[in-house]
């Protein structure tokens, strides 16, 4: 199973996600990447994130993504 950082790196290899507190504002993820990220998280962790949770604030940084995964019972 990949770590969250590895999933992010797989989507956008050109960025260092450990240096940003807001992936959206820093231009590291756009709307389409958010959808891709959700799909990758679903596959990687065997979960199904619902539409209500597909929000920029839930993927804006590593901490937010980990919090989202906790909600689905995952300890990343």
């Amino acid at each position: 199973m990949k770590t969250v950082q590895e999933v992010l790196k797989g989507i956008r290899p050109e960025f260092d996600f450990t240096t940003s507190e807001d992936f959206i504002a820093d231009g590291m993820l756009d709307s389409f990447d958010v959808i891709t990220l959700i799909s990758e998280l679903d596959q990687n962790y065997g979960i199904s994130i619902v539409g209500a949770d597909i929000l920029p604030e839930n993927v804006r940084n590593l901490e937010a993504i980990e919090k989202l995964l906790h909600k689905y019972g995952i300890e990343p």
């Binding site: 956008r12 504002a25 231009g27 590291m28 709307s31 619902v50 539409g51 209500a52 597909i54």
Partner: protein, 273 residues
């Protein structure tokens, strides 16, 4: 169909649609742009079942966005929506090719037909990449001023497809010029070429790159592009959308290091019968 009163009201409608289940949508709102459309009275919304439709007026037609739980719900809601709209409507169906094909099929029974297809192209650089040697200064490539807004908008209006390419209007071009988002080369009182771009953190979207027909083959486009990359030296990801049949433009973008990244925008149109 009701006029959208505020960004908050629209987000509330979206949240109701998103309450459960997966999401089928082409609506990726940017609050500042939504606010501007609302202030100008251009933004409308309506629901059919649990599906939210957002319509934005653009010149003499409407852009349709949707937020649905499933493809089936969207198809049913479209059948309900269409009889109530008497104007030309366009919709951008976005995603990887297979997904786009599936979604586009839902629109055919509601009278939508293919208009054009855009491909996203991306150019990436990594921090460890060696930067290119700095280009010599080119004093003829300058930022447009507010006063150039009308001429810039007219250039785009003449050259582009209003249904397929989301052409900015005079107001948007004037604001963009004031915000130093448009590089130009002048030729006397006229504008020979323009490059309109936006930067968000480490990403940049090339909105439009255009040389007037009377000034082509003079390397004006190349000079604009060189300055763009030089000004955006901290950008890691450059994006743009190009019409799939514009092979000339695609070849030029490839020359500058862009490559198609697999994201497609299928533009569908429904004209009133």
């Amino acid at each position: 169909m009701n006029q959208v009163p505020s960004v908050a009201a629209l987000y509330e409608q979206m949240a109701r649609t998103r309450r459960a289940g997966p999401l089928v949508t082409n609506f990726y709102p940017v609050p500042a742009k939504l606010q501007r459309s609302i202030e100008r009275g251009e933004l409308f919304s309506t629901t059919a079942g649990d599906v939210l439709f957002v319509l934005r007026r653009d010149r003499d037609f409407l852009h349709l966005s949707f937020v649905a739980g499933t493809a089936e719900e969207l198809a049913a809601a479209l059948r309900e929506l269409v009889p109530s709209v008497a104007e030309t409507v366009t919709v951008d169906v976005l995603g990887p090719r297979e997904r786009v094909a599936e979604l586009a099929e839902l629109f055919a029974p509601a009278g939508f037909r293919g208009h054009c297809e855009l491909h996203r192209m991306t150019r990436t650089t990594r921090q460890e990449d060696t930067p290119p040697p700095p280009a010599p200064p080119d004093p003829e490539v300058v930022f447009a001023s507010r006063d150039d807004g009308p001429a810039l908008a007219a250039m785009l209006e003449t050259a582009l497809d209003r249904h397929g390419e989301q052409i900015p209007d005079e107001d948007e071009m004037t604001r963009a010029a004031a915000d130093r988002k448009i590089l130009i080369v002048r030729s006397g009182p006229a504008i020979a070429g323009l490059l309109f771009f936006e930067v968000t953190g480490q990403s940049s979207l090339l909105r439009h790159w255009l040389v007037a027909p009377t000034h082509r083959d003079q390397r004006i486009g190349a000079r604009l592009m060189r300055r763009y990359f030089a000004d955006c030296k901290d950008v890691r990801r450059f994006l743009l959308w190009v019409i799939s049949e514009n092979h000339n433009a695609i070849d030029r973008y490839r020359h500058y290091g862009y490559a198609q990244d697999g994201l497609i925008d299928q533009v569908l149109i429904r004209r009133p019968s």
